[in-house]
Amino acid sequence: MKVEIVDRPFDAATETAALSRGRTDIGAVVAFSGICRDSEDGAAIQSLTLEHYPGMAEAEIARHVEEAEARWPLFGVRVVHRVGRILPGETIVFVACASKHRQAAFEAAEFLMDYLKTRAPFWKKVEAANSANWVEAKDKDDDAAARWTKSKRDAAE
């Protein structure tokens, strides 16, 4: 696995390619990019600033990658998360999973994103023309994460 926290823009395509480079046993790569948008509820976003808990953020992400690797037959996982000031169009978070068949890669990527949204110690502040406000956590993110703790069929293609 590779888990990285970075404070400057990175390229999702480069990270995705690195996951399967040199390997011919991988049949499926699923890559997700979470991107900073330019508006929310009609209000323009100038930037996001992401604060994090150094040390715990990497450890918490790694714990969830280990759980994904235990639950699904994965051949590799890469997670990259930005911190600091992020502009619209820039990638905030990247999750990619590789496996032999697609079900494991799709499910593990979704599982990791649902957990990153609720358990990874990062906090977003939205900067607009005349304001800077902390984003509030959403109940639907907690609901999404909770569904992974009910018994869910693991990939077995």
């Binding site: 808990y53 715990m56 994103m113 990153l116 990874a120 110690p121 906090w123 509030e136 956590a137």
Partner: protein, 83 residues
């Protein structure tokens, strides 16, 4: 023990971290938050709604009823918005 604050809790308290020495009667995370509230207006404001205060002890998420004895570092923060 060291206590770290994040996001708007950090802003309201006015500092990112400090060293504290709670009395033995402060046993759990929620005891600690209640004790911190007494330290001043900024703390009372930061922790006015204890239901949204989350905690980690030595970098692991814990529930409010978890005992703090033995922990070297406690972090207090609002619900997370990463990802």
């Amino acid at each position: 023990m060291k206590v770290l604050y994040f996001a708007w809790i950090r802003e309201r308290v006015g500092k990112a971290e400090e060293t504290i020495d709670p009395p033995a009667s402060v046993r759990t995370v929620s005891d600690l938050v209640a004790w911190l509230k007494e330290r001043g207006e900024e703390y009372a404001y930061a922790f006015e709604n204890q239901k949204v205060v989350r905690a980690a002890l030595d970098r692991v998420h814990v529930r409010p009823e978890t005992k703090i004895a033995g922990a070297r570092e406690i972090a207090l923060f609002p619900p997370m918005t990463g990802g």
